[in-house]
Symmetry: C2
Subunit: 253 residues, 2 copies
DNA sequence: AACTAGTGTGTATAAAATACACACAAAACA
DNA sequence: TGTTTTGTGTGTATTTTATACACACTAGTT
């Protein structure tokens, strides 16, 4: 589990690069023959039993009406992780969020205005905690499964991050970042079924998770459900961190 | 399996950036407040039943006598993969080599001369095919396990790539790139034992690989061994590629 | 009071991983 | 030429893990 926590703000003498002057900067980069560096965040959320991704309307004419990931040029005095975290904070207002680097994309022609290498980050947030801000600007939560064309190579980036997530969620306890702190086992299973696009046996799913002994019974129950309420659990990160990793899983390919 | 194959050389008008003028370029970047971008290759080989990594003596005074990964600034008109491949070709003279991006490292202070973001690549080569060129320059094959301090954050990068390899080799058929085309099962097992630092049962190891049905009996036998010679196999990449990947492996963390 | 919808649990079976032992072949040496 | 050495090649029993599957329970609704 990576919870990036920042201790430093970008240095005060660093000009903040926002959506406004980014075109000028790119033009400058291009004319100087310099490679720009950006980060792009694939921000996943889980809502209505579906995996969603947070996108914004592209501000480039060329990509008129196309959806784009949230990204920005990397500041001169900030780490890559910091840059990704800054974007996340600016856009969602959320702190203490799951964030992890996935891959760098640097094809020569991927940005129309200049040569820009981008580092893709994957972030998982609880969509309900964020609900408030999404109507302020052109941000929207999109289903990842039914998604039309996107700006730049962002479709490719999203695909890579989605596949990364599908794999990662089976080996690491990421999924809980998409859920409220306290969740029912049904919610957890819905999450896995939605992300992996599989049907799972309820009893075996429960058995699996309980056998890991990382779920804590909170003693609370679901409310406002039109049926017998399920127990609410929380994930025990401390216990997970103390667990020793094995380096041998068995060869299989 | 990623076998990067290049179809384009860097454009002719792109100045080739080599070890000679790199310092001048970095100085220029720094004074302009520009972020440089490089690739670093972690080139693994397998020799004497040990995992080795190809390193070079750092040319920076600050890192006098420290070992460094093979890297270079990314050319303006080449993709990241191309840049990594170029380095590989320049240093090892080898083509058609396993190469895969692992991670970007971009901490602010990681390079003493300027802000440089580097993309780390992992490469696996058959050390015997390369034997010839290693004495020409200050290149050396090092054991990965007993390795002293390194230049820059290269120790960190190597560690990440090594862990990446340990995981990757269990899920994808990378290992064969470290062996000759035809290999014995003993060699293959030695490889896995060395990389993962575990002891494996010989019979179960064989059973596992045979059950995958991806090893082809070449009909040939080992030679020059002071005991009963083992059969030589080769890995059937075509068959592997045709296999459908499953997206459900089972939750386990 | 009966209905509905989803929770909570246990067991039988199949598949996979592990542990383990002996016959065989080539080279080395006497 | 036969005896030793060393590592190859194979099969089976046992344990562990994954899968398949059914019925009682409970809260809210009618």
């Amino acid at each position: 589990m990576n919870r990036v926590t920042l201790h430093n703000e970008p240095a005060a003498d660093t000009p903040v690069i926002g959506q406004k002057n980014i075109k000028t900067i790119l033009k400058q980069l291009e004319s100087d023959g310099i490679i720009g560096i950006s980060v792009d965040c694939v921000i996943f959320g889980f809502d209505d039993n579906e995996l969603k991704v947070l996108l914004i309307k592209s501000d480039l004419e060329k990509f008129d009406n196309k959806w784009s990931l949230l990204g920005d040029l990397v500041n001169n005095h900030e780490d890559l992780d910091e840059a990704a975290y800054r974007i996340l904070r600016e856009r969602t207002g959320m702190d203490d969020v799951y964030l992890e680097q996935v891959k760098a994309f640097g094809e020569v022609g991927r940005h129309p205005a200049a040569r820009v290498v981008t580092i893709a980050y994957c972030s998982l947030i609880n969509i309900e905690h964020h609900q408030l801000k999404i109507l302020d600007n052109e941000l929207h939560w999109h289903r990842v499964t039914t998604l039309s064309e996107m700006a730049f190579d962002h479709r490719k980036i999203l695909d890579v991050c989605y596949e990364w997530l599908q794999k990662r969620i089976q080996e690491h306890p990421l999924g809980f970042s998409l859920l409220p702190k306290k969740f029912s086992l049904r919610e957890l299973q819905n999450l896995y079924e939605a992300i992996l696009d599989v049907k799972l046996d309820r009893r075996n799913f429960r058995k699996k998770f309980f056998s890991m002994e990382l779920l804590e019974d909170t003693g609370e129950l679901e409310t406002d459900v039109p049926h017998r309420p399920g127990k609410l659990y929380k994930f025990n990160y401390d216990k997970y961190k103390k667990k020793e990793r094995k380096k041998w899983f068995g060869i299989d390919f």
